[in-house]
Point group: C2
Chain length 336, copies 2
């Protein structure tokens, strides 16, 4: 049986109002003796406040919702994890919904969260979202709570957007590879349907062009961000015997490339240089360790929390933030 304020009020022979005041630590009003008595009873009976009822009465949930494509993805798991820890410090609870990268689930998730009464919605949209922004925008617009987009955004969205700078990240990585005297470089591209692919390849192309390195259509290989696609494409790339380096659009494909290279008995980076993007935790543990681009989760969270705090105060607050990345020089890219 659940203990309510009513039970405590009866036991203490006071009104519910008084119990409420005491349990919420409101100053004044009640005598110290009564305060103690009520608190004692609450403790003994193991009273726990019914958040649902409070929410109904106050129309305030002290809860924010977040929708991410996939918790099995370390990036999002880490994001959610930190967000929850930080928001807890602020007295907020975080509701998490995973969309499995399906628009349908994004939209259902929004409904689900809103129906539960959140004070703010954060979302990393599904990859396909950018192709169908209308639904999102109309849905988010007449939401009664502020919304922000993190990492995976929709350009047209008018609320706050926070993301990493793919263009400059890949740009400076490419620059670094070129600085190591590589001229013939293959680019292993990711899935072009994914939100963040375009920025990366453009960063690569811009850097190559800036340094007068020719890039032909056939120097771009189409992977899908998976280990397998890197593994499968290595032979095709390497056996051209024209490249001295391969830049992969993410670490997983770079692993695939390296794995096949080592399997073929090649020496890295002497026979060929390979780089990745994301700085996955294992990248440091490989032999050779992987040169890649890091996206600092702390920087992201700092901005996210700043924007959340502001949005909670002013629901119409809006800001577009692009976060810088760091080039991580390790041993998989060599100088020639």
């Amino acid at each position: 049986m659940k203990i309510t304020m009513k039970d405590i009020a009866e036991e203490a022979k006071v009104s519910i109002a008084t119990v409420s005041h005491v349990l919420n630590n409101k100053p004044g009003r009640v005598s110290d003796a009564m305060r103690e008595k009520i608190k004692k009873i609450a403790r003994e009976k193991k009273y726990v406040t019914n958040h649902t009822a409070r929410q109904l009465a106050t129309n305030k949930s002290n809860t924010i919702g977040i929708i991410v494509p996939d918790l099995e993805n370390y990036f999002f798991a880490s994001m959610v994890s930190r967000l929850q820890a930080k928001m807890r410090e602020r007295g907020y609870f975080v509701l998490v919904v995973t969309s499995n990268d399906e628009i349908r689930n994004d939209l259902e998730g929004i409904r689900l969260l809103v129906s539960r009464g959140i004070d703010l919605l954060a979302i990393s949209v599904s990859n396909a979202a950018q192709n169908h922004p209308e639904e999102y925008l109309s849905m988010l617009e007449d939401l009664s709570v502020p919304a922000i987009m993190i990492d995976r955004i929709i350009k047209e969205f008018k609320g706050s957007k926070i993301r990493f700078d793919d263009f400059s990240g890949m740009n400076k990585l490419t620059e670094y590879v070129i600085d190591n005297h590589h001229r013939k470089i293959a680019f292993l591209n990711g899935d072009m349907n994914m939100a963040r692919t375009a920025g990366r390849i453009q960063g690569f192309l811009a850097s190559m062009e800036a340094h007068g390195c020719a890039v032909d259509q056939k120097d771009i290989y189409d992977g899908d961000y998976s280990f397998e696609s890197g593994y499968a494409l290595f032979d095709a790339i390497y056996d051209q015997h024209t490249y001295t380096a391969i830049i992969a659009a993410n670490d997983m494909m770079a692993y695939g490339l390296m794995n096949r290279a080592i399997e073929r008995g090649l020496t890295l980076p002497d026979d060929i240089s390979i780089s990745g993007y994301d700085n996955v935790i294992f990248s440091e543990m490989l032999n050779p360790s992987l040169t890649t681009v890091n996206q600092d989760m702390n920087s992201l969270m700092d901005e996210v929390l700043r924007v959340i705090d502001l949005s909670l105060k002013d629901p119409h607050y809006s800001e577009n933030i692009i976060i810088d990345t760091q080039l991580i020089k390790r041993n998989s890219v060599g100088s020639i």
Copy 2:
């Protein structure tokens, strides 16, 4: 402004009761014409049910809560992710709390979830919990909802418990190594404060003894499950020049061992065999690929869901389940 049933009732010129009936798809009562009219208005006004109010009225939340130590840990992220997907199919929402492996947060999490009104609590307790079971047990006992423990359990807990069989997993792995004619085997142990460490080392010792392989105290090396501890201890182990194999209590430490071995120019598994435990996703991608033990998440989830379904029906249902593991033979363990 939020749309409520009242708004719809006014617009349709009927009572709130009628609107409620229609929106909850209750059979009979209302005329088809009125049904359509009400649904249309709800759609136009973008009505979304106030779950908070419903919960207060029905005392049913269609929500379960889960507490895990850490979402950045793939195992738990995967667990939560699948649980959420499966429970969604059942019309349930999953509230997630991370404890950061601190008892304090476990207990606070329980309070937090209960105050929000969950129909069931699932928890993977903090590692230190087994040392202080009293608090948990008293807290969970007079909880008004059923509770189950997953993976990280407290032995004394009387509700349902579901976990993997560490003993038999490590036992058969050791057996396999011995079958490959290894006799002098070093064991790289994990943190003994962690819930699942004991079972693993016991499985190793039992198998060694069963095959008449001597194990001395100094053949057990104390790691802490981290890559670094494996990396740091490799030299100490290898330079004994007595071992032909090292069994690590998890994959991360095995990575550390392998990394240092390769750095020293050794050939695996010719110079020394190494095995892990957990079958982390990257274990397949290493050179050589890592022989390890897999804990099938699908099997775990099947059992978890079965128990949840039963517990939701009968709050006093209780079962103690131990799930089998699979030996994954790859290339890091060689025959001698």
